[in-house]
């Protein structure tokens, strides 16, 4: 939560477990085994200090810089998103009123657009938690919904028509 991880080790797997209104942002270099994953909690930062990936507007540039340091190139980079659910749909109180999930996703997409990194797949919205896994060596990203099974979300040879994109 609020953290990020990057790796260039082919055997590594990056995981964000139990994403609710938080958004998991995976950055993958399509041609080299370099990937990063950030667990974003809130759309935008006002505070001076915080965990590196807590706020979307800071997490995306930080994650980008980290994977580039490991040799990833921006023109080969793609983003895959998971999470951003509305966990307490229907509850009246402030825990629900914020619709944090949708705002988190919008903030992440905006920061990625600013950085020129395309979003190639997303499993976002809805009202279920998710776990996202990035297998660094194969550049494969998979997602599991609460109570469901793990399904592939993206890999470098996905045909464009197969992409999972929630509106």
């Amino acid at each position: 939560m609020g953290e990020l991880a990057v790796s260039a080790a082919p055997d590594d797997e990056l995981v964000s477990m139990g994403l609710g209104s938080c958004v998991g942002v995976a950055l993958v270099d399509r041609e080299r085994a370099v990937a990063g994953l950030a667990h974003v909690m809130l759309p935008a930062a006002n505070a001076a200090y915080s965990a590196p990936a807590k706020f979307a507007d800071r997490a995306v540039p930080t994650l980008l810089a980290c994977v580039e340091r490991l040799g990833a190139r921006r023109e080969r980079m793609v983003a895959i998103l998971a999470g951003g659910a509305q966990m307490f749909a229907g509850a009246r109180a402030s825990v629900a009123g914020l619709d944090l999930g949708a705002r988190n996703e919008a903030a992440v997409r905006e920061a990625l657009a600013d950085a020129g990194v395309p979003v190639r797949a997303a499993a976002t919205g809805g009202d279920r938690g998710r776990t996202v896994r990035v297998r660094v060596g194969e550049a494969r990203v998979s997602v599991k919904e609460a109570g469901g099974v793990e399904v592939p979300l993206w890999h470098p040879h996905f045909h464009a028509d197969d992409l999972v994109e929630t509106p």
């Binding site: 939560m1 609020g2 953290e3 477990m17 139990g18 994403l19 609710g20 209104s21 938080c22 909690m41 809130l42 930062a45 006002n46 505070a47 001076a48 200090y49 915080s50 965990a51 807590k54 659910a85 966990m87 307490f88 229907g90 509850a91 009246r92 109180a93 402030s94 825990v95 629900a96 009123g97 914020l98 944090l100 999930g101 009202d127 279920r128 938690g129 998710r130 776990t131 609460a146 109570g147």
Partner: protein, 204 residues
Amino acid sequence: MITRYDEQQLDALRELASIGSGTAATALSQMLGRPVGLAVPRALALPLADALDAVGEPDAMVASVVLPVGVGDGDAAAEIVVLLLFSYRCAASLCELLGVEPRSELGDSALGEIGNILGASAVGALAQMTGLALEPQPPHVLYDMLGAVVASVLAATVGELDVALVLDASLTVEEASCGMSFLLLPTVGGVAELLGRLGLGAEK
């Protein structure tokens, strides 16, 4: 912004957690007609990532009841979220004890009612102790990953702070081998109100 709590404040919050969860355990025991055990409550002020790990395995599927409680004069920034987490097995055995079908509409409403009674009795005790007006909202029942439930509540309560305050206690329904976590997750404004009333103002 980083908020720190000193030992004296954490002790006072632990005491509140202890009184709240003790009252909740008594209420649950009366509701079920069975003894309910209570482990020593904790008051933890932790970095966000550690707060989630302190509660449990983020990937585990849990039944949960979320009960937001307004603090004071209805300022939305001051709130305490009461969170109950049960294993599926425990949720099912509680439903059986109450004579309703688990994972049905009636079962969910029974779990919500347990959340309501535990939460309302706990915050009732806190209200008496602090003299604060505490308004429980309707409970919300959901079955999901522990991390998704807890992180979503923390994102809403902790906001921009880097430290989450977690008051938790573990309740055990005897003869049903059923354990649950009873958590109080106050917003920053909520903690300030509680500590202020105890003469331990949060501003340090």
